[in-house]
Symmetry: C2
Subunit: 339 residues, 2 copies
DNA sequence: TTGTAAGCGTTATCAT
DNA sequence: ATGATAACGCTTACAA
C-alpha cells in the first residue's frame, strides 16, 4: 500500500499542498467547505504525516534519549517505567540505550542521540565514567540534559537524586541505636558518587556515635553489586570478622545475597547479625526474614527527571535561558525483620 | 554552538555541497587531495550528519519500535536487554513503548511508530488484545513486524515464542511422576494465548495420566499475575481445598507469593504442598525453599526476535518477498527444592 | 481564501 | 573530478 502524502491529497482534490497542510493543522484562514473536503479525503486515503519531514522542518523530534547502565535491574526498570509514562503523557517518544557500565559505549551513545536530534537527554552515568567531555558536548549543542541517580556534580545541568549520604547515615544510626556496634558495610564500586556517598554516611554515623571506623569491616562489591557479591562477601566477612553484629549493604540485592548465605549457614538474622538493605526493592518485603531497607523512589525519579527535561525543552524552544534544578527526592527507612 | 552542516563545510572550502557529501561518504570519484581537505574541515567543525535529513532522503531511520505490556517485569526487562543489545550491534536504535495491558494504548502506539517511520516493529501483545486491525495496518504498510511471547497466530508475520503447552505439560507430568495427585493450577488471564496454552498443558498432563480434571482446583490470577495473586490464591486454596498436594503456577512471581503464604502458615514445601513455577526468574533460586520452575530464555527471545526483524528489514530494502519464520525456543525444567 | 515558493540537510543523477 | 539540481515531505512567510 502506498503511503499517502500531502501531495496525494492535493492532487486528488486539485488544490495546493499548502492549503491541505493548513487545513489539517487547523489554520484559521481556510474555507470551511474545503477544509471539510480535505479532512474527508485525508481520512479516506488514511493519511498520517511523515514525522521525519515534520521534524526536519520544525527542528524538533518529540523524542528524548535515555542512557542508563542497564535495564535489567529492579531500580532502573522502575525508573524507565516512570520516564516512559511521563514522556508518553506529553507526547514524547523514548529511545533507550544501555551503556553496560562502559564509558566508551556511553560516549558513543551520546553521539548517536545527538545525530538523531533528540530533543533532550536523560542519563544515569556508568560506574566507570570519570571524564565528562561527552556531557559537555551535549550542553554545548544546547540540548537539554538531566542527570539522575548516578550524577556528576560538576556538570551544569539539572539533576534528580536522593541524598545518599543522609540515607546511609540514618540507616547506620538506626543500627547503632538498636545497640549494634560492630557494623560492616558492603559498599559499591570506588568510582560512583552514590557509592562513595553511602560510604561516607556510614562512616559519619559511626564517628558521630563514637564508634571507631574499622576499614577491615568494609567490603567492596565488585561483581556488578550483585547477589553474588552479598553471598561471597558474607562468607568472607564471617571468616575474617566473626564478631560482626550488623551489615549495611549498598543495595537490597546484595543484602539478599547475605541473607541467603546466613540462612544456609544457620546464622540468625537479626539475632546473630542484623542486615540493612538499600532501595526497597519489592523482593525485600518477601524474603525471609524480610529486609529492613531504605525506600528509594525509583518510579518517581523517572517521572520527575522527565518532567524537568520536558520543561527545559519547552523553555529552550522559546529561547528563554534555562534554569537548572537540582531535586533531591526524599527517602524513608522501612523497618522489617532483618534488624 | 551552531551545528555544522554540509553547506558550512562547502562554504568554508569554496566548493559544492555535493562534493563534500561524496567525499565524506567515500565515493570513489573525488580527488584525493580535496577529500583530505574536506575530512579535515569536517573534523575541525565537528561535523556530524543530521540523521533527520538522511532519514528523510534514504527513507530509513535505522530505528525499530518495541511495544510491550510493561518494562517492570523480570521477563520483559531481560527481553528488552536482548533487543537493545542486538539492535545496537547492528547499528539500530530502539524506541520502547508500554501498552500497560491496554488495547487502546497499543493501537495508538502502533500509529506513533508508523508515523515515526521506524524500520520495523517488535511486539508482545497486551492481555486485552482481542482484535488485530492495528497489526494488519502495520503489515499493509509493508513494515516488518515480529511478534514474541504474547503472539497472535492468525497474523501473517514472524513469531518467536516458547511451546507453552508442552512446557506446562512437562512440568505437571513431572509432578505426577513424583506422586502428586491433587494438583492445583494458578492460571493467568483468560484471554492471552500463553495463559490458555499453559492451562491446556496442565489439563492434558492430568488427562494423559488418568487424573480427573477438577475445575475447582484452578484459580485465576487477575491482579496482573502478581505476587499478591499467589499469596491470596494460596490462602483461598488451602481453605477451599485443604487436600491439595501440589500447585503449578503461571509464573514464578505467583509461586513466590504462594511460598510466602505457606512459610507464614507453616505449610511445608514440598512435604505438604509442592510448588512449581514458570520462568526461572533469578529470584527463584534464592527464595527458601528454592523454586522448581521452567526456564524460559528471555534474553535470547529478545535477541532472536530482533535478528529476525532486522533480517526482514534488510530483505525489504532489496524488495525481496519476505519469508516469515516461527521460531520456538526450547525451555527446560529446573529442579530445585520446592517439588 | 488560496497558492507560490523557499527552505530544512541530505543524497544521487546527470552535466560539465 | 566537480557541480548544479531535483527530490525526500512538510511548514510557513508572502504574494495573489
Amino acid at each position: 500500500m502506498k503511503v499517502t502524502t500531502l501531495k496525494d491529497i492535493a492532487i486528488e482534490l486539485g488544490i495546493s499542498v499548502a492549503t491541505v497542510s493548513k487545513a489539517l493543522k487547523d489554520y484559521p484562514d481556510v474555507n470551511k467547505a474545503t477544509k471539510e473536503k480535505i479532512i474527508q479525503t485525508a481520512r479516506k486515503l488514511n493519511y498520517s504525516p511523515n514525522q521525519l519531514a515534520v521534524n526536519l522542518r520544525t527542528k524538533q523530534t518529540k523524542t528524548i534519549g535515555v542512557i542508563i547502565p542497564t535495564t535489567v535491574h529492579h531500580f532502573f526498570s522502575k525508573v524507565i517505567d516512570g520516564i516512559i509514562e511521563e514522556a508518553e503523557k506529553k507526547g514524547y517518544l523514548v529511545i533507550i540505550l544501555q551503556s553496560s557500565e562502559k564509558l566508551m559505549l556511553e560516549k558513543l551513545q551520546v553521539n548517536l542521540l545527538i545525530d538523531k536530534r533528540v530533543d533532550g537527554i536523560l542519563m544515569s552515568l556508568s560506574n566507570k565514567t570519570n571524564e565528562f567531555v561527552h556531557l559537555k558536548k551535549v550542553l554545548s549543542r544546547n540540548i537539554p540534559l538531566v542527570l539522575f541517580d548516578k550524577i556528576e556534580p560538576s556538570i551544569q545541568c539539572s539533576k534528580v537524586r536522593i541524598d545518599d549520604e543522609k540515607a546511609a547515615y540514618d540507616a547506620v544510626s538506626y543500627l547503632i541505636s538498636k545497640g549494634y556496634k560492630k557494623i560492616s558495610h558492603f559498599r559499591g564500586d570506588l568510582n560512583p558518587k552514590i557509592s562513595n556517598d553511602r560510604f561516607k554516611g556510614y562512616k559519619k554515623a559511626l564517628e558521630d556515635h563514637r564508634i571507631d571506623y574499622d576499614p577491615s569491616l568494609v567490603y567492596i562489591c565488585n561483581n556488578n553489586t550483585d547477589f553474588e557479591d552479598g553471598y561471597n562477601n558474607a562468607k568472607k566477612l564471617i571468616q575474617e570478622n566473626p564478631e560482626v553484629d550488623a551489615i549495611f549493604t549498598i543495595t537490597d540485592l546484595v543484602a539478599i545475597g547475605v541473607i541467603k548465605y546466613f540462612n544456609e549457614n544457620k546464622i540468625k538474622i537479626p539475632e546473630d547479625v542484623a542486615v540493612f538493605g538499600f532501595s526497597n526493592w519489592f523482593m525485600s518485603s518477601v524474603v525471609s526474614p524480610s529486609l529492613t531497607t531504605v525506600h528509594q523512589p525509583a518510579h518517581q525519579m523517572g517521572v520527575v527527571a522527565t518532567e524537568i527535561l520536558l520543561e527545559e525543552i519547552e523553555h529552550n524552544k522559546d529561547n528563554k535561558p534555562s534554569i537548572h534544578k537540582e531535586v533531591i527526592l526524599p527517602t524513608e527507612l522501612i523497618f522489617r525483620e532483618s534488624s
